[in-house]
């Protein structure tokens, strides 16, 4: 009879080709490598990783997802996780990872010297890599000088129909809320969120960038947004973005009081990682003045290193006082913040 039916042969070939998909792409004799679980999704980060590989020969592998999704994943993977480092774009996530027992302390004196104690975990289980300020972006045409003052002031009826902000599902808003709760208590904060929501010109939607655009087009007068989004708009490849950035200005609130809300992007070494030395080396690299200054230029985040240079755009926004609330507050109060948002009707 026939040896192999052509149909069968095709089937076998397809199956073989398909199985090839499961073979890991990395070479078997892999050189030293680090695996990052990171919330940071910036193109610039990839450039930094390449630079690190060039300098040290250590390859960097990346899993990108939301910070809390990554925490769930780390918990479920337990000791078998391939992750060596956990990076977030928010201090609360770091604190929750620490409290879940997912991180280990680092011992590097270089890091401790470089980063002020307020930007490190008291037990040195995580360290900030960059700072980002959540501020008010306003239209200088429609907002009078002196009209803006504090986050709390946004609850004032004079802002009725003049504010925009994104959904409270977003971690940046949740972190801002934790600092408001810390400063004013839960009850006042709920009332605040409800009043701010009332003052919004439209229900929360879109990204921070969309809020800035809404101010630029004249829909709203003030947006709550992170500064670096403005920097990204200003240097966008799209002319419309650059026009939008030119139409708005930055205001740092609460300068008389506790200061503007500053969140951090940071990293910790995963507890079960057996590459703590390599991971520390990577953190030291990220905290070097060279990389810190480039963060300021490329992503418009503020460097944590005191000695690193700000970018011209950041200089233009000006110096400001930052709220120095402990980052553990961000982690501790996150659930409460979401609950208060729910009650206040801020979607």
């Amino acid at each position: 009879m026939n040896p192999i039916h052509p149909m069968k042969k095709r089937l076998i070939l397809t199956l073989l080709a398909a199985l090839a998909g499961f073979i890991p792409a990395a070479p078997l004799h892999a050189a030293e490598e680090l695996t990052l679980y990171t919330q940071r999704h910036y193109e610039f980060d990839e450039a930094v990783h390449r630079l690190f590989t060039e300098k040290t020969g250590i390859t960097v592998k990346v899993v990108k997802a939301a910070s809390d999704e990554l925490i769930v994943r780390l918990q479920e993977e337990g000791a078998n996780t391939p992750a060596d480092l956990y990076l977030t774009a928010d201090g609360g996530g770091l604190d929750r990872a620490k409290k879940a027992g997912l991180l280990q302390s680092f011992t590097s004196e270089a890091i401790k010297e470089k980063v002020p104690a307020t930007l490190r975990d008291p037990d040195d289980q995580w360290v900030a890599l960059t700072k980002r300020a959540r501020v008010l972006i306003y239209s200088p045409e429609r907002v009078k000088a002196g009209e803006l003052s504090t986050y709390e002031d946004l609850a004032d009826p004079k802002w009725r129909g003049r504010l925009v902000a994104r959904s409270s599902s977003n971690i940046y808003n949740q972190s801002l809320m934790t600092t408001v709760i810390e400063a004013n208590g839960a009850e006042a904060s709920e009332a605040w969120a409800a009043a701010v929501r009332q003052n919004m010109v439209r229900p929360p939607q879109g990204s921070d960038r969309d809020q800035i655009r809404a101010v630029a087009t004249g829909l709203a007068d003030v947006a709550i947004a992170n500064t670096y989004y403005l920097g990204l708009l200003e240097t966008s490849e799209d002319q419309k973005d650059r026009d939008a950035a030119a139409a708005v200005k930055v205001f740092f609130p609460n300068q008389e009081g506790r200061g503007a809300h500053v969140n951090i992007s940071g990293a910790g070494i995963v507890k079960s990682s057996k590459k703590a030395a390599l991971a520390t080396q990577f953190l030291e690299f990220l905290l070097s003045d060279e990389i810190q200054s480039r963060y300021a230029e490329e992503t418009f985040e503020y460097p944590v290193s005191e000695t690193a240079k700000w970018s011209p755009i950041q200089e233009k926004w000006g110096k400001f006082t930052a709220d120095d609330v402990a980052f553990s507050v961000l982690g501790d109060r996150n659930a409460e913040a979401v609950r208060l948002f729910n009650q206040a009707g801020w979607e």
């Binding site: 069968k8 089937l11 080709a17 398909a18 199985l19 090839a20 998909g21 499961f22 890991p24 792409a25 990395a26 695996t35 990052l36 999704h41 193109e43 990839e46 592998k61 990346v62 899993v63 990108k64 997802a65 939301a66 809390d68 999704e69 769930v72 994943r73 479920e76 993977e77 337990g78 000791a79 078998n80 391939p82 009725r160 129909g161 959904s167 599902s169 971690i171 949740q174 010109v201 439209r202 229900p203 939607q205 879109g206 960038r209 969309d210 655009r213 087009t217 004249g218 829909l219 989004y229 990204l232 490849e237 799209d238 996150n334 659930a335 979401v338 609950r339 009650q343 009707g345 979607e347």
Partner: protein, 558 residues
């Protein structure tokens, strides 16, 4: 029947033994055990999730008091609005292209399925330009009519656009169902209706539409499932639905149980829809089997009528495909021409994503065919039930499945089974999750294919000395080629489009087109994002056209 007169049926009273109630029969053999085992493995992540449902939840009452009503209202508004719109956008063009002849009909008949290639989250980026563009108009409204009118207008624009957008990319489910229903309807029925003095429109409303109802309902059920499971688009448009509630409660408030209860509500809604759909499809088969298969003679349209028909069919394609693709091409062009353009962020990682999707699609399709074959080998209630359970992942949000899979592998890890480290944390985990999520697709198509082949061929093979497995390989598999290629293609496209599950489970340095597009979009780099988005659309469109070709009923004796 022969010519002799029919004998009256003799009333025969069955002995008591014959009357006993039909019993559940477990045909305990290797095939049955295989079906049970595979169902068990696939259902494991879902069970792990259901296990949590009974536990105490700190936030449930808080959710019920504050946001649950809004999630439900929003979900229902979308479900209702989108269903209504897909009915119009799906049924009317389907009727026109199957029963009328006009210029452009052939091209439109397949172009009408293309919007299915556009994932909702990508359509959302494009359509969100709408509310943006409406801002100057809204400002005018506010200045002239005050804040209340403005807020109302803003809501209408946003909800309206979201509904239009979802309908524009989802209506092909209804369109496809209608096309197959209309083209299978007996020409005689429609012609009889027209002979009885009904106009074409009346015969459509009175005869064709009621007959196609099961198919239409099945299509709408699929649309509703997609709407309920959608995450990206509703988030972008600021219309929080139950799915957003699941994410927010789980990851923002850290209350797994409350989040899973929300997911449970969704699963219930969708499961009810699935059952409805299955019930209706069961009867649909009967209707189709009865109808003749002579293709309908198309009514030629001329002049104004032809132009109108063309327009009616063209609008859905324009909204659901040409407009978004046009925008994406424009952005991608800008990106590639700009200084920073050209570089494609995740080349190698993407290749892995691609080959994984392909591999999973091939393996899972083959597995589904074998599974369905085993279910049908000795079809009993238990096996049918198992088949249904194995397909339940389709009714579950991707993120929930992802966490279920993490829980399962986490538990297995802690048991420290010897071989587990080989699979845990590898591509196998995510491939398994895709299997759980999408197993229903190849299962359905394999079932339809096997039903078309029919039992006699299998029985003939068995009697000619070939045991079940050999029969499957030598008879069913070659004959299932068309439906399996279609299923594999659909699966491949769905895996490439899948986002929430992939984001949570993907291994290091692993990107799919969807995750690449998503991370660029979350950096709000719309122009750069357009490149992978266009690739998804291109792959999806090719996949759909291939599938469409393979699913065409073969011309007899071709």
């Amino acid at each position: 029947m022969a010519s002799h007169p029919q004998a009256p049926a003799l009333p025969i009273v069955a002995p008591a033994a014959a009357r006993r109630a039909p019993r559940w029969r477990w045909h305990g053999d290797r095939w049955g055990a295989g079906v049970a085992l595979l169902t068990g493995i696939i259902a494991l992540p879902l069970l792990a999730i259901l296990f949590h449902l009974g536990q105490e939840s700190a936030e449930w009452s808080h959710l019920a008091e504050t946001v649950l009503a809004r999630y439900l209202t929003n979900t229902l508004i979308l479900v209702f609005g989108v269903s209504l719109l897909v009915l119009i956008m799906g049924v009317v063009p389907a009727w026109l292209v199957t029963t009328c002849e006009f210029r452009g009909r052939r091209v439109l008949s397949w172009a009408l399925i293309l919007p299915l290639a556009i994932p909702t989250y990508i359509a959302a980026f494009v359509f969100y330009q709408g509310p943006e563009a409406a801002i100057p108009m809204l400002i005018q409204v506010r200045m002239r009519f005050g804040v209340e009118a403005f807020l109302l207008a803003e809501q209408i624009i946003r909800y309206g656009l979201l509904i239009v957008m979802l309908a524009a990319v989802l209506y092909p489910y209804v369109y496809l169902a209608c096309c197959s229903a209309f083209s299978r309807q007996s020409r005689a029925v429609i012609e009889a209706a027209r002979c009885l003095g009904n106009s074409p429109t009346r015969s459509f409303l009175r005869a064709a539409l009621p007959m196609a109802r099961p198919g239409i309902v099945a299509g709408v059920a699929l649309v509703i499932m997609e709407v309920i499971n959608d995450y990206g688009a509703v988030h972008f448009f600021g219309v929080p639905t139950l799915t957003e509630g699941v994410f927010r409660t789980w990851f923002g408030m850290g209350d797994k149980v409350a989040a899973l209860r929300l997911a449970g509500i969704m699963m219930l809604v969708v499961a009810a829809l699935l059952m409805l759909e299955q019930g209706l499809r069961g009867r649909a088969r009967y209707v189709e089997a009865d109808a003749g298969s002579i293709p309908m003679k198309r009514l030629p349209l001329g002049g104004g009528k032809a132009a109108l028909a063309f327009l009616v069919c063209f609008v859905p394609v324009a909204l659901g495909f040409l407009f978004p693709v046009g925008r994406l091409v424009h952005w991608a062009g800008l990106h590639l021409l700009s200084d920073s353009g050209g570089g494609f962020p995740a080349g190698l990682a993407l290749v892995r994503g691609f080959s994984l999707a392909l591999a999973t699609a091939v393996v899972v399709t083959a597995l589904a065919a074998l599974f369905m074959y085993a279910v049908r080998l000795r079809e009993c209630r238990l096996r049918r039930l198992l088949g249904r359970i194995a397909g339940m992942g389709y009714a579950t949000p991707g993120a929930v499945i992802a966490v279920g899979v993490l829980v399962v592998f986490g538990t297995l890890d802690r048991l420290e089974l010897p071989l587990l480290p080989l699979v845990s944390g590898t591509l196998f985990v995510i491939a398994f999750a895709y299997t759980v999520r999408f197993f229903a697709i190849p299962l359905q198509l394999a079932r339809a294919g096997l039903e078309r082949i029919g039992k006699p061929l299998e029985e003939a093979s068995r009697l000619l000395g070939h045991p079940p497995l050999r029969t499957f390989l030598r008879v069913d598999l070659p004959l299932l080629r068309a439906p399996l290629i279609a299923a594999g293609m659909l699966l491949f496209v769905d895996i490439l489009k899948e986002l929430p599950l992939t984001l949570i489970l993907r291994p290091a340095n692993f990107e799919t087109l969807a995750t690449t597009a998503y991370s660029l979009a979350s950096e709000a780099r719309l122009q750069a994002c357009a490149v992978p988005a266009l690739l998804i659309v291109a792959v999806g469109a090719i996949g759909l056209l291939v599938m469409n070709r393979w699913l065409q009923p073969p011309t007899p004796h071709e």
